[in-house]
Amino acid sequence: MSSGASVNALQRLVEQLKLEAGVERIKVSQAAAELQQYCMQNACKDALLVGVPAGSNPFREPRSCALF
């Protein structure tokens, strides 16, 4: 590999690193708190979490068998 090719590869790497370093980051504790808040706010709508009134989950409804 010529030195020209490796210089290009390194330049691309530096550009990629600059791009990634420029990402704005928040603290993990804040991120975790916001994930938790989202869960809490949406828990009541989560059928697999809290269940739904009998009869309103189509998969839990008893199925009728029709015999022909």
Binding site: L13, E20, V28, A32, Y38, C39, D46
Partner: protein
């Protein structure tokens, strides 16, 4: 390689922050429907937006559309290749996409005309130089995103088959992808055999964030419902949660007794539960906030290869190498 090794979860993780959150009670989740009809391993499945229809694909080359309420098969097509590793339902519900060892992604319009041969209307959209591992329509029927064993992802125009954008950066096969929820903008996440999860800007083709904390292939990636995080499942037998705004891993879901790879993951509607299918035939249900397992589901008689929660969160479907799909609620 971009700097990713500093992103491992540190002492401050999600379950420490969630200490005061009430623990979840016992879960009763059972198989409510079993979909039988594939002649070999089920490799992939996807829900229709109508919360009822399911498309699944198999090693035997067959792609089947099911009504999950009645378990009836509504459509079936045989692909010219075996190992159809990827399938997806179009947002309109009027078409499906699939592909695998043929290195392509093809779109089939769904017709209810019994005289029409589904295979006749097949449209080849994507062409890769290795197997297709994953595909997904964007928020319309007009564009498809693909992932491939050739190490790239790509965005295609369905009508013309034109390549709109390609995504280079993975150092090995890309195994999975997931689109960000539409409110959060034009990004998607991919996972690969290089152990990396990469987040991409769909317009520019740039990798905007990368994470490399898994110790083996990443088989599955799925966005948290808010779009601020994503989960991954790996051959290293762990699932992990990465927060995009903190730019690091924030939780690990693992147990010493779990030694087989996680093949497929998805969140419940609120993001509180993470369902993960494993190569030891089980499905583990994790409390996302507390990091603990709340349930283990038995039923499949071989590896669980694919798992998705229904669009309204009332159920989830798993597909397995045991040739069946199960709907759980």
């Amino acid at each position: 390689m971009p700097c990713v090794w500093h992103k491992r979860a540190t002492a401050v993780v999600v379950h420490q922050v969630a200490e005061r959150v009430e623990a979840l009670g016992q879960f009763v989740m059972k198989t409510r429907r079993t979909l039988k009809g594939h002649g070999n391993k089920v490799l992939c499945m996807d829900w229709c937006k109508d919360k009822r229809r399911i498309v699944s694909s198999s090693q035997d080359g067959k792609v089947i559309v099911w009504d999950s309420f009645t378990t009836n098969k509504e459509h079936a097509v045989t692909m010219p290749c075996t190992w159809v590793m990827a399938c997806a339902y179009a947002p309109s519900g009027c078409a499906i996409a699939c592909g695998g060892l043929d290195n392509k992604c093809s779109v089939y319009p769904l017709t209810f005309d019994k005289n029409e041969n589904m295979a006749a209307k097949k449209k080849s959209v994507a062409m890769h130089t290795n197997y297709l591992s994953a595909c997904s329509f964007t928020n319309s029927d007009m564009q498809i995103l693909t992932a491939s064993g050739d190490g790239t992802c790509a965005l295609w125009d369905v009508e013309s088959g034109q390549l709109l954008q390609s995504f280079h950066g993975h150092g090995a096969d890309v195994l999975c992808l997931d689109l960000a929820p539409s409110e959060t903008g034009n990004t998607f996440v991919s996972g690969g055999c290089d152990k990396k999860a990469m987040v991409w800007d769909m317009r520019s083709g740039q990798c905007v964030q990368a994470f490399e904390t898994h110790e083996s292939d990443i088989n599955s990636v799925r966005y948290y419902p808010s779009g601020d995080a994503f989960a991954s499942g790996s051959d290293d037998a762990t699932c992990r949660l990465y927060d995009l705004r903190a730019d690091r891993e924030v939780a690990i879901y693992s147990k010493e007794s779990i030694i087989f790879g996680a093949s497929s993951v998805d969140f419940s509607l609120s993001g509180r539960l993470l369902f993960a299918g494993y190569n030891d035939y089980t499905i583990n249900v994790w409390d996302v906030l507390k990091g603990s397992r709340v349930s283990i589901l038995f039923g499949h008689e071989n590896r669980v290869s694919t798992l998705r929660v229904s669009p309204d969160g009332t159920a989830f479907c798993s597909g397995s190498w045991d040739h069946t799909l199960r709907v759980w609620a």
